[in-house]
Amino acid sequence: MGNVSAKKNDVKKTEKLFGLSAEEYSKISELLGHEPDAFELGIFAAMWSEHCSYKSSKVYLKTLPTKGGKVLIGPGENAGVVDFGDGDVLVFKMESHNHPSFIEPFQGSATGVGGIMRDIFTMGARPVANLNSLRFGSFSHPRTPYYLSEVVKGIGFYGNCMGVPTVGGEVVFDECYNDNILVNAFTIGIAKKDGIFLSSKCEEGNIVVYVGSSTGMDGIHGATMASEEFDLKKNKKRSTVQVGDPFTEKLLLEACLEAMEKKLIVSIQDMGAAGLTSSSFEMADKSGKGMIINLDAVPLRTSEMTPVEMMLSESQERMLLACGRDKFGKLKAVFDKWGLNCVEVGEVIKEKEIRFFYKSKIYKTLAVDTIVNGPEYKRPVKKPEYLSSVKPLKADNYKIPENLNDIAVKIITHPNIASKKSVFTQYDYTIGTATVIPPGFSAAVLRVNGIGAGKKGFLLNASGNSKYTYLDPFTGGALAVTECARNITACGGYPVAITDCLNFASPEDPEVMWQFANAVEGIKSAAVKLNTPVISGNVSFYNETAKKEGDKTAVHKIYPTPVIGMLGFIDGVENAVTPYFKSEGDEIYILGRLSGNLGGSLYMDLEYGNFMQKPSEIDLDYEVKLQNCLRSLINKEFLKSASDISEGGIFVSLAESAITCPNQTLGFTVNYDTSISGVRIDSFLFSEFEQAFIISLDKKLSGRQKAAVLEICAEYGIKLKKIGEVKKGVMKINDKIDLKSDKIKEGYYSAI
């Protein structure tokens, strides 16, 4: 692997300081006027951790577009909020739970899902759909089946019990994740515009109330753990993983929404990373207030807990809220009904400090500013050395294989291409009676239930391509955004806003920081062009593992993995288009243009064992025109199917269009004149992420209708080229590909 570099292992030192650097430690001593004691150190370490403070990423995140369009609330709250019309708003966010999921995949992924759902209902929104984006090690790695099965079980365990449908996501295998799997979880919820709750609304004299599960010893130092690399020799981090109870969270959801409906809550935040510490300090900070916190009142699972343990526990299914003193009785009645703790633990005060009481005495007072205003770094960046060898592909150096059938089969049954049905059928995707297009196609399409909801719907997609980001971080970042948009547009929707989950190795490595800076720049460029502001997100650094290899220590780093979750809207949800062909005889077209660049493709990897070439850059202006053109064709109801061209290239788009229809197996005959286009046959078949779509039109379209189609394409300046027809049972392309649809279907659905 090219991304392995030796690095001195300094785990011992960081463990002593809970992940703080020596400089940070002296800074804290300076701020306090004395060396921190265990309590202070614990709180600083959590709040100044990369996970909570975004200290290495903040300078870049600030550059992202966060306003405009339909955005009501951007980053900074528990989740972002988008206007959905008719007084409705949608609230969404994606978050990583990578480190816990590698240590304990079932609980790690389950609590990742639980945590992101809490972020949504904290805002007053009822969660209506989940997505997830998963990365596992090489499919043939001996531990991969274990991680895959446990992570999927964990996600299902939590989401299914909560009654929130999991409607889509991605599953990708690559050896760069052998020692660091990624679990990114996305939730979207719906609320009324005037029913949004924030963490910044505490008022002096409010009482501070703790609701939900009792506090236990689980997850202590979770935030600092997630801000460190792994060292596989020691496996002592298990107690840093939280344990989830979705049943309690379901009760907490119903209780919180009921209390909100009854207007009993002033301000609220969930206890996620760094538990009581982050919720109390952040609420106080955002409200411009302080708090008294009485640690004696915190409901505990064990009496042996010290103040710092109470503050750092990441026990799940807990919330901190502020409520008017006169409303507490009614609030308690709601939580009593649902059988949950509801305990007064403090008060909101004017002075911007938190005063902790323990054993009935004042225990410690900490200034809010000092704790929340952690360091901010502009870390050194350096263009990675490996990039100097990533050059544009010279196709002439590679012969076209005699037999393209074999490689085509290899690609369509590759674990990263083949159907993930065995994964998503473990998630309840039909609950909520809103799923119009289920998982397994372009984007998930959901309708809105309720009287007067009309025909509006929304679309969700999560995408990211780490291999391309590794080869070209800017393009990879932009591609994650455009790929989501392509999937949404292919269904007939229009992109609205995004959330990002940025998974990288150590920010202390200048090469990683360079990847990060460029990937964010790519996301920014695409988000600006596509008019999809970034309304929430999360950064996960330190996805790397130090391993002993011989007498050296090598650090295995993941590829830079930015993942985007995108929301789109659609006006007539019943007209949403699916990617699969509908009837024999329909005409197949390419809408857009082909680069024919095989650089970085799966084909190059599988056929030649070398994918280290430069991928195509994305022409964002063209992309916008292309997607507008496609959407226009769909809105006029001319198309029977539309599919983008992603990993695996046109062959995979055509094959999937032929075999993914739920009640029939189709096929195609395609003829593509390589002599006119100058694109050779293997480039045509397997070039990835082309700025083009495969669409099918009804064979019975009248001459006038066809002219109208051409007119729309001309209006946007987009080429439309007929390449073939839908045929039953066979897949034929020129005289190079000749396969049987049912055989391909069998392989496609049984590979994983």
């Binding site: 079980k153 049943f247 379901k250 998630y427 309840d428 995707y429 119009v436 239930n449 309720g450 949800v573």
Partner: protein, 238 residues
């Protein structure tokens, strides 16, 4: 559809999560007057309702066994009383499991033979149309509905199965799209492909698939609607 005069009660336990779906479909799609019954509500009896639905979900987090704790909840005493007087009771998914645990239906649910949660569309064959739940259907009708469960592998001892068959109490079986009752079309390992059974009087039915998720065209199937239409027909003709 205006069926406002028909009153349906939907039980709600801690952890029920299909209650809102059933409520919406009964009210908005079928025009019935449906309302929730909180498991601890202090009520006299359920006599005011034309039928009761025990919806799906994870009542009590499936702790102990699916449905075991809910079956011992106060409202189930009223449901038992209601059923004994001939009241119509439909248990869906977790509701089916609760009916088994409450002794209103015979048999048990084991974990799916895949040992996994299974969410997918299945086909059901209608075996008995002389029940309040199937009277709007023709014998052998095929219905497409989704399942979404972890413990839907119906099991009962031979004596019980014989009795169910004698009394025509096996109402639905999993089948393929052509109506063939095959091993391949059995999504969870259920004995004899059993998907839904009734009690001997046929006024209580448990069904693993979700009719409320397949009552509207836009969701891919309206077949589940026949169950609710049957109940409406039965009540109107009573």
């Amino acid at each position: 559809m205006n069926n406002k005069k028909i009153k349906a009660g939907i039980t709600v336990f801690p952890g029920s999560n299909c209650d809102a779906d059933v409520y919406r479909v009964l009210n908005d799609v079928f025009g019935i007057s449906a309302s929730f019954i909180w498991h601890k509500d202090k009520i006299k009896d359920l006599g005011g309702y034309d039928f009761i639905v025990i919806p799906g979900g994870f009542s009590y987090g499936d702790y102990l066994r699916s449905g075991a704790l809910a079956a011992r909840s106060p409202v189930m005493e009223y449901v038992k009383d209601y059923a004994s007087k001939g009241g119509i009771v439909l248990g869906i998914c977790n509701g089916f499991q609760i009916l088994l645990e409450a002794g209103l239906l015979s048999g048990v649910m084991l974990t799916n033979n895949s040992l996994k949660f299974e969410c997918q569309d299945v086909y059901l064959k209608t075996l008995n149309t002389e029940t309040p739940f199937t009277c709007a259907l023709k014998k052998d009708s095929l219905l497409k509905m989704p399942i979404a469960h972890h413990d839907g592998n119906y099991f009962a001892e031979k004596k019980i199965i014989e009795r169910l068959n004698d009394k025509n109490a096996v109402i639905f079986k999993y089948c393929d799209e052509n109506g063939g009752i095959t091993e391949l079309s059995n999504p969870n390992g259920s004995m004899h492909n059993i998907a839904g059974i009734s009690n001997e009087n046929a006024n209580v039915m448990g069904l693993m698939p979700h009719p409320e998720r397949s009552s509207e065209k836009i969701l891919g199937s309206e077949d589940g609607g026949y169950i609710f239409q049957s109940i409406i027909k039965y009540i109107k003709e009573k």
